[in-house]
């Protein structure tokens, strides 16, 4: 199977001694949906953010799609090329506050992909419809609920037609009653889109249903890697820490 993400010897340290990520190797095949679980502070988000260099790794190489960047010798233009291979959905949505829903989705199409306004607009409207936000296309983020903002965030990420979609705790900042609408949108994408996804989440049941593969992280490394059946249904046979974590989360 074609490999879409390849991480080799990835490490991230603070002050030269505190490890956030320790020597991580990871391969993600095309169209795999990978959920990353684990307790807080184990490096899940950091790993995801190293894939688009929002977080600069201390060592190791990252390949997404056709672009490889090595931490030891990377340039700004390489990093920009790497970033164009993926798109990220953020915990706090991070919509551009000076732009409407439609303009948020159009922005990278116009500035990065140099598409015409008309073409960008038709893509934006199609994607806003897909996430059920077409009727809010002219609303500024300040006039949308968290769930609505996150759905626009998803449309914005889809717009650039990325090889890999990165979800960084997409529902953690939402009110409980709004989590469902966002998870449904992501589930729909996972089912119908031919796209590769990595998602950091605390929604174990959601990960069980949507992901084709699950990573469990602890202390800056991948402690378990397997199918949802292996990891979530039989955690005891994998590791006691995993079982402890899942028991805790499901309560």
């Amino acid at each position: 199977m074609e490999s879409m993400v390849e991480v080799r010897g990835l490490s991230k340290t603070f002050d030269g001694s505190t490890y956030i990520l320790k020597d991580i190797d990871l391969n993600v095949a095309k169209n795999e949906v990978v959920a990353i679980l684990g307790p807080s502070g184990t490096g899940k988000s950091t790993l995801l953010r190293c894939l688009n260099y929002l977080c600069e790794p201390t060592a190791g190489s990252v390949r997404v799609g056709s672009v490889t960047v090595d931490a030891a010798r990377h340039t700004g233009s390489q990093v920009r090329l790497l970033r164009r291979q993926s798109a990220m959905v953020f915990q706090s949505y991070n919509l551009f506050k000076n732009k409407t829903a439609r303009e948020n989705v159009m922005e990278a199409l116009v500035t990065v992909q140099k598409k015409s306004k008309a073409e960008a607009e038709s893509i934006a409207l199609r994607l806003l419809e897909k996430v059920g936000m077409l009727d809010r296309k002219d609303y500024y983020p300040s006039k949308m609920s968290g769930g609505q903002q996150q759905r626009v965030g998803i449309a914005r990420a889809l717009a650039v037609n990325p090889n890999v979609l990165l979800f960084d705790e997409p529902t953690s900042a939402l009110d409980p009653e709004l989590v469902g609408e966002v998870l449904n949108t992501i589930r729909q994408l996972a089912e119908e889109e031919t796209s590769t996804m990595l998602l950091v989440t605390h929604e174990v049941r959601f990960a069980r249903n949507v992901a084709s593969r699950i990573l469990f992280m602890e202390d800056g490394h991948i402690a378990a890697d397997g199918t949802p059946e292996q990891i979530i249904d039989n955690p005891g046979s994998v590791s006691p820490r995993l079982q402890q974590f899942l028991n805790f989360v499901s309560k």
């Binding site: 688009n52 929002l54 920009r80 090329l81 970033r83 164009r84 993926s86 798109a87 990220m88 953020f90 706090s92 949505y93 991070n94 919509l95 551009f96 506050k97 000076n98 922005e107 990278a108 500035t111 990065v112 500024y140 983020p141 300040s142 006039k143 965030g153 914005r156 650039v160």
Partner: protein, 222 residues
């Protein structure tokens, strides 16, 4: 000596007719200090090495000394060592000092506005492959402008009042005119009451504009 309404109304136009001098000093200095202050704020925002430290010291110096002292030092002090300053017309010299002085305050207002745009939006833009230049021009600055406008208007009001220092180097602005009129007639009370009212009236107009601007700025993205 009784307050003379006749003198008051007779002299009012003589002083008010110097308002263009005061206003042009304000407008010219506002333009230069805005440009200079914005550059200084950007240097600080991007933490340009050496320049950032230099501007920090410069800003501390400007904000830590009175404008009148700066003007005397520049116009009389530097004139003894610099032919450029010696040959400078008082009007230009005052505009230079006002611009330099206010740019330090403008830089602070602009810097705070730039910092008010959260990192998350910048990360989102970068993650989509936008360049640093696109992030600052398309995402940060449009939002910073609306944050910066109200404090910048305060800076302009301060600049307007600071222009009264011009009379100290012999410029006939409204302050200079009232000093000259009062020296001739000894009607200090009337003359300075006139000039106070002129400054106050203009500041009220500016404050009114500022209020309206503030309302519009806060409404833009809502």
């Amino acid at each position: 000596m009784k307050f003379s309404w006749e003198y008051f109304f007779g002299t009012f136009p003589l002083i008010a007719e110097k308002l263009p001098v005061t206003l042009s000093l304000t407008v010219i200095s506002a333009g230069f200090s805005l440009a200079l202050g914005t550059v200084m704020a950007l240097v600080n925002y991007y933490r340009v090495p050496v320049l950032t430290q230099f501007l920090k010291a410069w800003s501390s110096f400007i904000r830590g000394t009175p404008a009148v002292t700066q003007m005397f030092f520049f116009y009389y002090g530097l004139a003894t060592v610099s032919a450029l300053v010696l040959n400078m017309s008082p009007l230009v010299a005052v505009a230079v000092v006002m611009s330099l002085n206010m740019s330090a305050f403008v830089a602070e207002s602009v810097r705070a506005a730039l910092l008010s745009v959260d990192d998350g939006q910048k990360e989102a833009a970068l993650s989509l492959g936008m360049s640093n230049f696109q992030v600052i021009t398309r995402i940060v600055i449009p939002q910073a402008v609306r944050i910066a406008l109200p404090p910048l208007f305060n800076d302009i009001i301060n600049l307007f009042k600071m222009s009264s220092l011009a009379f100290l180097v012999g410029i006939r602005d409204v302050m200079g005119a009232s000093k000259i009129e009062s020296a001739a007639s000894f009607r200090f009370f009337e003359c300075y009451a006139i000039v106070m009212l002129i400054y106050w009236f203009c500041t009220i107009v500016l404050t009114f504009l500022q209020r309206r601007l503030e309302k519009r700025c806060s409404a833009i993205y809502e």
